[in-house]
Amino acid sequence: MIQKTNMKINVHHLTRVEGHGNINVTVRDGKLVDARWEVVETPRFFEAILRGKPHDLAPTLTSRICGICSIGHTLASLRAVERAMDVEVPKNAQLLRLLAKHGETIQSHVLHVFFLAAPDLLNVDSVIPLIQSHPAVVGVAVRLKGLGNDLCDLAAGRTTHPVSLVVGGLSKAPKKKELQAMRQRLQERLADVATAVEVFKGLALPDFVRETEFVALKGESSYPWIGGDLVSTDGVVKSEDDYLAMTNEYKEDFTTSKFTKLSRESFAAGALARFNNNYEFLCKEAKETAEMLGLAPVNHNPYMNNVAQLIEIQHVMVESVEIIDELLAADLDDVCAEYEVKAGQGVGAVEVPRGILYHDYTIDDQGSITKANCIIPTTQNNANIHHDLPELVTQQIELGKSDEEVTKLCEMLVRAYDPCISCSVH
C-alpha cells in the first residue's frame, strides 16, 4: 500500500444536492492541511424582508425559503405566529397539518434516498440511467414520491408551496372521500417500502464513524414532528423557546451559511438525529426495518442517515393511516380558528426532513412582524459536515484510497446529510 502524499480535492458546485456548495480538501506530505465545506449560495435575506410584513403573509413568504421543505417552513412560520398571538389551532387542523407534514417527509426522503443518494451506490451519474437499468427500483421511487406529493396536495392544497395552511388552521379541509382513497393508497404502497428495504439490504454504505452529538425534538408519546422540547444525545434538554441556546449560531468567512454548535464543536440534526433520540416512538414495523438494516440508536455513521430516512418513510406512512382514521371519525367542517391580532413573540420549532427548523417572530399590535429569525436544519448540519470532512479524509488516506475514491466519499458524505443549501442561506 503506497502512502499518498499529496491530494487536492476541489468539488465546485456539488451536484445532486439542493443549492450551491463546494468541497475543498488539501493534503500535503500525507498530512491533511485543510478540509472545508463551503456554502456559496447567494443569500436572500428573508429575515430582513419579513420586517414590516403582515403576519398572515409570513407563512406564504417563508414557504419560499425552500422548494423541498416548503410545508415545513410554512408550519414553523405558522407556529411562530400562532404562539406569538396565542392562537388556538383546532385539533383536526393540527391533524391535517401533520398529514401534510408526513406527505412532505415521504416526498423529500424519497427524493433524497432514491434520486440523489442511490446513484452513488449504484455507480451512475443520476437516476435517469436507472430508468433503464433498475426499472423496478425507479418504479418504487416514482410511486412513493407520487404518494407523498398527493398526500401534500390533499392536505395542504399543493405540494410545493402549500396554499391552504393558514393562521388559525386550514382554509379548506379535504373531503372525506378523498381521505378514504388516500388511506387505501397509503396501505397499498407499504409494499413498495418493503421492496425498497430489500434493495437496501443488498447495498453497502461506507463504514465511517465519528462521535457526534445529535439534536432533535423530544417526543413525549410519539415520534416528534411539530413543537415540543429540544434534546440532544449528549443529554441537553431545553424548551422550544430556548432554541438559541440549542443552536449558538456563528459565522465563518469562507461560507455564506452560518454555523451552529452545542456541547461539542458541531452537532447533527435530521433523520438520524431523530432516530437516535426518539427510537422508542417508532412504530413496530419501522423498528423491524431498522433491525433488518442494522440501525440501532445511537448510531454515529452519518451515511446511515439514508437508512434512517427510509425507516421514517415507513413510520410516517403507518402513522398517516392512523391520522386519517381519526379524521374520518371527526367533523371537518370547521378547521380554522378565529383569532385576535395582538403583539407578542413566538417560536415555532418543526422537525422537517433535514432536522429541526426554527422560526421566531416578534409581532406588533398591528399584526406586522418587526423582527424575525429563522434557523435552518442545514445551517445546523453545515458545521457537522465541515468537521466530518477532515476526519473522513484522514481515515481514508490512512487506508491509502485514491483521489477519486476519496472525492466520491466526500461527495457522498455531504449528500448523506441531504443538505438543503439554498434553505440554509435564506
Binding site: 458546485h13 419560499r64 427524493l111 434520486f115 440523489l116 414520491k145 392544497g157 408551496h161 391552504s164 468567512d253
Partner: protein, 251 residues
C-alpha cells in the same frame, strides 16, 4: 408527429438555478404518473440538482431563480451564449419573485439585519430578462408541471405555444369555487394570468399574482372594488408587490 411526416425532436436541456428556492426545478421531477413519459422527451445534459452529468451542449436552458450577485451575471451570460433557447421558469426568474422584496430596503441594512458585522456580497435582485435575452417565460411560484409538460410537448413537436391571456377567475369559476372576495379576502385573480388552475382560490386563499398580469387587466377597477369592501390600499399593494410581477403597474 409521425402522421404528418414530422419527427419529434428530443430536446437537449440544461437546468440551471440561480437565487431561488429550487421549487420550480423540483416540479420537473413531479407529476409522477407522467414523469417517465416526460423524461423521455428530454435529454438532460446538465441538471445539477439531480445529476452529476455536466454537459455544455444543451439547446434549451431552463433558468430558475433571479440574479443577486455579480458571479451570477457571468454564469448566466455564459449559459445564454451556449443555449439556443433560454427559458425563464418561475416567478423568481420572470419577475424577481419574493426575493425582489429585498429591493425595498437598503442593501447594507439587509446584510446587517441578517449577518451583523460580517461582510456578505449581495446586489439588488434582477430578473433574468434584466441581464440576458429571454426567449420564453413560464411564470408561477412554483411553475405548474402541467404547463411545463404542455410547453415541452410543443417544443418537441415544434408547435406554437399558447398560454392563457385571460385571468385566473375563469379557471376559478370552472372549478365552482366560492369566490374568496365574497369571503372577505383580497384576491388578485381578476388581474392575474390564468394557467395555474386557480390553485390558491381553490384552497380558499386569495391569489397573490405569481403568474403576472393577465392581458388588458383592469387594475384600477379591482383596486376600487377591494377598497369598497374595506381593504386598505397598503394591504392591496403589499399583495400586488409580493412576487414583483406587477411592479410595472403599481406604485
Amino acid at each position: 408527429m409521425k402522421y404528418l411526416g414530422i419527427d419529434p425532436q428530443k430536446v437537449r436541456v440544461g437546468v440551471f438555478d440561480f437565487t431561488g428556492c429550487e421549487g420550480c426545478e423540483l416540479q420537473l421531477a413531479n407529476k409522477e404518473d407522467s414523469l417517465l413519459d416526460f423524461l423521455s422527451l428530454l435529454e438532460v445534459v446538465n441538471f445539477r440538482e439531480v445529476s452529476s452529468d455536466r454537459g455544455d451542449d444543451y439547446d434549451v436552458a431552463l433558468i430558475e431563480g433571479n440574479i443577486s450577485r455579480a458571479d451570477e451575471i457571468d454564469r448566466l451570460k455564459d449559459i445564454r451564449a451556449k443555449a439556443k433557447v433560454l427559458v425563464a421558469i418561475g416567478s423568481c426568474a420572470c419577475f424577481g419573485g419574493v426575493n425582489q422584496q429585498k429591493n425595498r430596503f437598503e442593501l447594507d441594512d439587509v446584510v446587517k439585519e441578517v449577518y451583523g458585522d460580517h461582510k456578505v456580497e449581495t446586489d439588488k435582485v434582477k430578473r433574468i430578462a434584466d441581464v440576458v435575452k429571454v426567449d420564453l417565460e413560464i411564470p408561477g411560484c412554483p411553475v405548474s408541471k402541467e404547463e411545463v409538460e404542455r410547453i415541452v410537448v410543443n417544443v418537441v413537436l415544434g408547435a406554437e405555444i399558447k398560454i392563457p391571456k385571460y385571468p385566473v377567475c375563469v379557471e376559478c369559476k370552472q372549478k365552482v369555487n366560492t369566490c374568496v372576495v365574497d369571503l372577505g379576502q383580497i384576491c388578485l385573480g381578476p388581474v392575474t394570468r390564468a394557467g395555474c388552475d386557480a390553485v390558491c382560490p381553490s384552497g380558499k386563499v386569495g391569489c397573490l399574482g405569481c403568474r403576472g398580469p393577465a392581458e388588458d387587466a383592469n387594475f384600477e377597477s379591482l383596486k376600487q372594488i377591494l377598497m369598497d369592501k374595506g381593504h386598505s390600499d397598503s394591504a392591496i399593494v403589499e399583495r400586488l408587490r409580493f412576487y414583483g410581477a406587477f411592479n410595472g403597474t403599481v406604485g
